[in-house]
Subunit: 108 residues, 2 copies
């Protein structure tokens, strides 16, 4: 997973923090499929994701506008996955929708 290459701010970040429940039930395959599907959406800029051995994970997706975020949330296949997330895959999660105001970085 590389660090996402994003444009000059402002743009939108969706921070999805989650604690996985026990069993897989196609979770890994669905997570991969949702990443693919996100990439095809208008306004998609990039995605970053990390999950530790304790099942605690953070995924950040980047979007051009709030409208693009809203449209992605409403994509039918994504809605089915969101429902399964609540029912099967996550003990808890939190989604925070943000405007990125500035960024800086380092590359060795």
């Amino acid at each position: 997973m590389p660090i996402a290459t994003t444009p000059k701010p402002p743009y939108i970040a969706v921070i999805f923090t989650s604690q996985r429940a026990g069993e897989d039930n196609e979770y890994a395959a669905t997570a991969r499929r949702m990443e693919e599907l996100a990439r095809e959406q208008p306004g998609y800029l990039g995605i970053e994701s990390a999950r530790g051995a304790d099942g605690f994970g953070i995924t950040v997706s980047y979007w051009t506008t709030m409208e693009a975020v809203k449209n992605w949330k409403a994509v039918a296949e994504h809605m089915v996955a969101q429902r399964r997330g609540r029912d099967e895959w996550y003990r808890s999660y939190r989604t925070r929708v943000c405007t990125v105001e500035r960024e800086y970085g380092f590359e060795s």
Copy 2:
């Protein structure tokens, strides 16, 4: 690591995405110390962190205001750690400073 309990938006999120370099060199101890030190700063709201086995990690810290973020960045002990981060611990990183506009979640 629990999901951070944050107030009603708006507030600030600092998304720190990083790829670790090979050796530890007190990285784990410094990371814990920086979390402790952050908790003591004015305007601190919470922190969430995940790193996978591939060394790719995301840490999000939450703050009341941009001023609080700026002050935390300038804390002397934190500046030393930032310098060691560039010199020793990270292959690359990116910091994005954001205003959280809305949030929603789920708790089973």
